[in-house]
Each structure stands twice: as C-alpha cells, then as structure tokens.
Symmetry: C4
Subunit: 216 residues, 4 copies
C-alpha cells in the first residue's frame, strides 16, 4: 500500500488538532472598559496554547519525517499510526484542563492536570517508539536501505522523551514546578532531537552520494 | 475522472470527524480541589470516545483500501460516496447521545441512545455494501483485473457488519447489555475483516507476480 | 501556477464546512426518560442538515469537476475561487437560522431565515457563473481544447440555479411553502445538472477518441 | 525533504482557520418575530468576518505562491513555517475580540481590540519576512534560479505590510478610526502585492522561455 493517503489523513488530524486548540480562547466575561484586563487574565490559556502548539507541531514534524522515509505502508502500520493519533487527539482536552488548573491555582487540581498532561505525553512517546520499532523490524518498508541508520539512530529519541514525561508525571505528585520544568524540557528536547535527526538524514544522503556508483 | 480529489475530500471529512469527537470533552463543573473526581466521572465520554474513534478509524482504513483499488471514479460513485459520508458524519451526534445516556443511566434513554447508535452503524455498513456492489458491477473502474478477487471477497464484510448492528439495534429494546456487546463486537469484527482483507490483497499481488510475463 | 494546492485548500474548506454542519446537533434539554422525544423534536435540525449537506455536497462535486478540467490556475482565478468560498462558508450560519426558524414556527422569522438561505444560494450560483465565464474567456487554462464544450454547456447551469434561488428569495416574502419548494428544487436541479454534465464529459471524451489520430 | 506535506499541513491549517471563523456567528437571543433585527444587529461579526476572511485568504495565496517556488524544504524552514502558522491561528481569537469591541462600542475596549488585531498582523508580516529572507539566503531550495527575482522582489512586501500594521497598532492608542483605516489598507495592499507578484512571476517565466536553449 502506498503511504500518501495515510499521510494526508494524519496531516489532516494534526492540522485540525493544532487549530482547534485556539477554540480554548473565548471572549471572557468583563465589565465595559476592562476588556484588556480580562484578556490579560487569560494568560494561562496563552501559556498552555504555546506549550501544546509547540508540542503538537514538533510531533507533526517527526511524523512528517517518519513517513518521508517510507516507501510503503501495511495494515499493521496503519493501525499503529491510528493508535498514536488516538493519544494525540486527547491533547486538546488535557490542554484545557491544564489551563483551567493554572487559572484557579488550586494545588490538588494542578497536580491532577499536570499528571494527566505528562501521562498523555508519555503515552504519545511510547506510541512513537512502537512505530519506530515496527519499522526497524520491517525494513522492506523503508524507501532506501541507508534509511536504516535514520531509524536506528532515532529509535532512542521517543524512549528518552517517554522517560522525561514519566519523571514529569511522578514529579507532579510532589512538586508542580518540577513537573512543569520536565514537561517544558521534554518539548525542547523534541525540537533538539528533530534538529539532530535532520542532520543525520542529510549526512546519510551525503555519504550515500559518495558511494561510487558501479552499476546501475 | 481521477480518484485523488474524492480521496482528499473523504480523508478530510474522516479526519475532521475523528478529531471533533474530542470536543465532547469539556471541563466539568467542579468544586475547587476536586477536579480529578469530576474528570473521572466523565468516564462515559472516554468510553464512547474510544468506541467511536475505533469505529471511524477502521471505517477510514476500509475507505482507504477501497479507493486504493480504484483506477477511476464516476459521477455515480461520487454521489454514493457522499451518501456514505452523510451517515458517518452523524456518528458524532450519536456518540454524544450515547455518552449522555450512559452518564445518567436512565434505562429508557439508554435504550434510545443505543438503538440510534446501532441504527446508524447499520446504515453505514449498508452504504459500504452499496459501494462494493457498485464496484463489482463496474469492474472497468478497478485498477487491475485481479482486484476483482479483493472486492468479491470483501463484499460480504459489510453485509455481516450490517447484520451484527441490526441485532444490536433490535437487542437495544430488550437488553442494553446485549446491545452493547454486539456494538463492540461489530467494531472488533471490522478490525478482523480489515486484517484478513489486507492479507487477501497481499496474496493477490503475490499470485499476480507469479504469472509468467510473456509479453510486455 | 498548478491547480493542486487550490484544489487541496478548497477541498479542505468544503470538507470542514460539510462536517461542522453536524455541530448544530447538541444534546437537548430533556427530563430523564424522555431523551427520545427531545431528540425527535429536533427534526428541523435534521431536515436542514440533509438540505445543506446535499447542497454543499453537490457544490463540491461541481467544484471537483471544474478543476478537473483545468491545466493551470491564475492569480485572478484563485481570488474568484476565494470569493466563491466566502459565500459557501456562510451557509453554516444560514442553516442554523433556518433550523431555528422552523423550530419556533414564527412566520416573520421563517420568512427572514428562508430569504437569507435563498439569497446566499443565489450568491453562490452567481459566483460559480463568474468562475465559468472567466474560464470560457481564458481557454488557455483548460486542460484540453475539447473541454470548451464542457464549460460552454455548463455555463447556463449556475444561471438557471441563480434564477431558481432568486424566485425562492422573492417567494419567501409571500409564502414560505413556495420558497421552500424552490429551495429544494434548486438542490435537486444541481444533482440533475451534475448528472448531465458528467455525461457530456464522457461523450466529449468518446468523440475525442473517435477522431482519427493522424500524427503524434 | 520534499515540500508536499508541509504544503498539505499548512493548507489544512489555513482552510480550518478560515472556516472556523464562521463559528463566531451564533443564533442571537431574540424575541419571537424579531429574528431579522437580531441578526442585523450582528453586523460587527459580519464586518470582522469579511476582514479576517480576506486577510487569511490572501495570506494563503502568498503561502501558496511561496511554496510553489520551492524545490525542497529543510528542518529550519519547517520550524519557521510552524512559527508563522502559530500567529495566524491566533487571528480567530483576535477577530472575536474585534467583533465584541465594535458591538459594544466602548472606546477603551475598542482600542485594545484594534491594537491586538494590528499587533498580530504585524507579527504575521514579520514571520513572512523571516521566511522570505531565509529563502533568499538558501537559494538552493528554490525550484529554478530565476525564482530569485521573485523573492528578492517580494522580500519588501512583508516589510511594507509590517510597517502598515505597526502604524495601525500605534494609531489605535489615539484614534480607532485611523487604526481601522490602516488595518483595511494593509489587507488591500496584500491583494495588490499578490497581483503584482503574480505578474512578476509571469514575466520571469516569459523571459526564461526567451533564453535560447543551447544544450539540453
């Protein structure tokens, strides 16, 4: 099976998710002349919006690269991809609860919202690890044999991500500040990993072009 | 007519549907410090979310494979596809009513919500049967003549699905538990059928490649 | 400029529009045990949903065929297409007002809602007429010279559609029943026109293949 | 990396954004028989809808042309594009606040809403400037060397746009009328710039075809 429609479907879901995040912003209750103050009081929504937009954005970048290295897809890969998307869609609700908890600053509610957010990120990282592992076991799906380097290199990235979010999850029961630091670190780590992976991809291609072409 | 835009349009609709399902989750009313209990009380929304996400997901997988076997589309096929999408879009509302009925546990309301959900699934299976039958009667639309095996094999899958949902519909008037079992079974059956169909597809391709190529 | 992204963007908008129509359905207020009666009382939403789903669906089918006949697009065509999409997006609100007016059965409100719905349909037909006329004046954009027959034939279809909706608009001030008949007729007319156009398309292709190929 | 999926993802986001703008329109509270008056009182929503639809529409047209000139994308370009989309998605909320402020006509609230809208437009123009500058520094990404003319010509367009919106932002603190004039001018300027750019694109292509082809 070709990969184009799985990509189109996944792109659609990522694009919709990242866009409906903005529906969290609703015109607040305010007294005439004080709209500015009421909107500024919505900073928790903006904060979690930046967080989740970055997170879903970088997830999409990885998803983009993952499928760019595939020549074909299978029924199993389609189902695994669907499972990964399941957890990603739930991020919108986790984001709403996160903003709600920061707005009202109740410690018990913050712990719960942070734990849920970190747990979901952990599950998403785990689902990406499953996807990469499946591809490494089914290298016939890869576009070129050299791509193996890309995935074997990248395989540990979701594992490391999952570890960071697991720490964030556990930390949320003791300190919401520590939990938040790990949540933010996790997302920054993804951008760094994306950056490194794109360099590995380039190097692989360069090395490949250095190989003397004996026969065609 | 080429099939690419019908696919893109259908992919868009399936992707949006599966994503707006998540809009069912709204931050619940809760007393400060008890957000966790309030969110846990939303388990009926999570349950129906898992159900409908799986159902719409597997429908998309079938839709994906169906069009992957087509070389061309016709005005009639476009209209039949639109009809199928009509019933699929209504699943979001059926899901909301389902979650509502499970939350409040009123028997009469549960019967109605389960019946409506099963009825809609029945109509969707029926619409897929119409699509497959149309393609078997218009084999010139198929990408390769061998694909006939795929569709003649698959034709009975929506019929069996429709039967399961019909039983779930009738059962809802007597026992919501039995109805629910059939609804869940129907979705599991779709995954099993998708699995088998993808194997038939592979076998067909293998057999095809075994045919000695005499002339090109 | 190539047409693929204008198609993808338009497909996205049509797919989203046809899907968010379903957001009109919200779980109604009801007393426990009477969910069925409350949902059945929502028939005006279902009625206008069927109407608008069919209408937007057939519009998309025409849009699909229109761009299938194009080889290239221009800045002007992109802007005209955007203008057409502007009126189409407003259909969701016109549909909500339509359902609202039928639910409460106030004659003045029904007149207004029917008039608005018909007016919007008139503007959409007019925008399609502008699109077709532009293409007939810029035949270099068409994929093959024979396609001219397709557009010169189809050019009068939006004109006739616009006339039907103009009558529906005027009728709404005198009789909502007559207005509704014309609104429904307009949508049925579109399906009939789509049917005929797809036959003209086929005939054109057949005739074309009959032309003895002298030189290649 | 190929550009097709970045385009598909961006198209999806632009299409969703331009479509969910319409969700601002909700059936107003009204006394039976006065739906028309209540809907006519929603003119601020219609006004800001026309404004933001035109603005997001023309942004998409530029985005379309930008990627049409690219042969490849990079990790950096994907991240810059994501940053640009971040500001664009926030336009829906700025539009809601804009409509809210015009509806209630409180001067302080209008100033804030106009300032926010202009500021966001400024940031979007700035993000496009960053995109164009990046492409001019990485010409190996361009589809053909002649395209350099397109971007070096267009580079100043977002700078001029940003200046107009900066004036609109500053003006909002003194006069909302002047601010609005600059906001509207900015959008009209974009359409004019799109028009001119498409002519430059055509000329470049003509000139290119005039170059005598020596060897192939």
């Amino acid at each position: 099976m070709k990969t184009d429609r799985v990509q189109a479907f996944s792109d659609g879901i990522y694009a919709i998710l990242i866009t409906i995040l903005v529906l969290q912003f609703v015109v607040p209750d305010y007294t005439a002349g004080h709209l500015q103050a009421a909107v500024f009081a919505q900073w928790p929504i903006l904060f979690t919006y930046v967080l989740s937009f970055s997170y879903i954005g970088v997830l999409w970048l990885f998803h983009h690269d993952l499928f760019a290295h595939l020549a074909r897809t299978t029924a199993m890969l389609n189902v695994l991809n669907m499972g990964s998307l399941f957890f990603v869609t739930l991020m919108t609700y986790a984001t709403s609860l996160f903003a709600e908890a920061i707005t009202h600053q109740n410690m018990a509610d913050k712990r719960f919202a942070f734990a849920l957010y970190a747990l979901l990120e952990f599950l998403i990282s785990a689902s990406y690890y499953v996807l990469y592992s499946y591809l490494l076991r089914h290298q016939r799906l890869l576009a070129k044999s050299q791509e193996y380097a890309y995935f074997s290199h990248l395989k540990y990235s979701p594992l490391l991500g999952a570890s960071i979010y697991l720490v964030a999850f556990i930390a949320s029961f003791f300190s919401t500040v520590v939990s938040l630091i790990f949540i933010v670190s996790g997302i920054l780590f993804h951008f760094a990993a994306y950056w490194r992976a794109s360099k590995v991809g380039r190097k692989t291609r360069v090395r490949e072009s250095e190989i003397p072409k004996k026969k065609l």
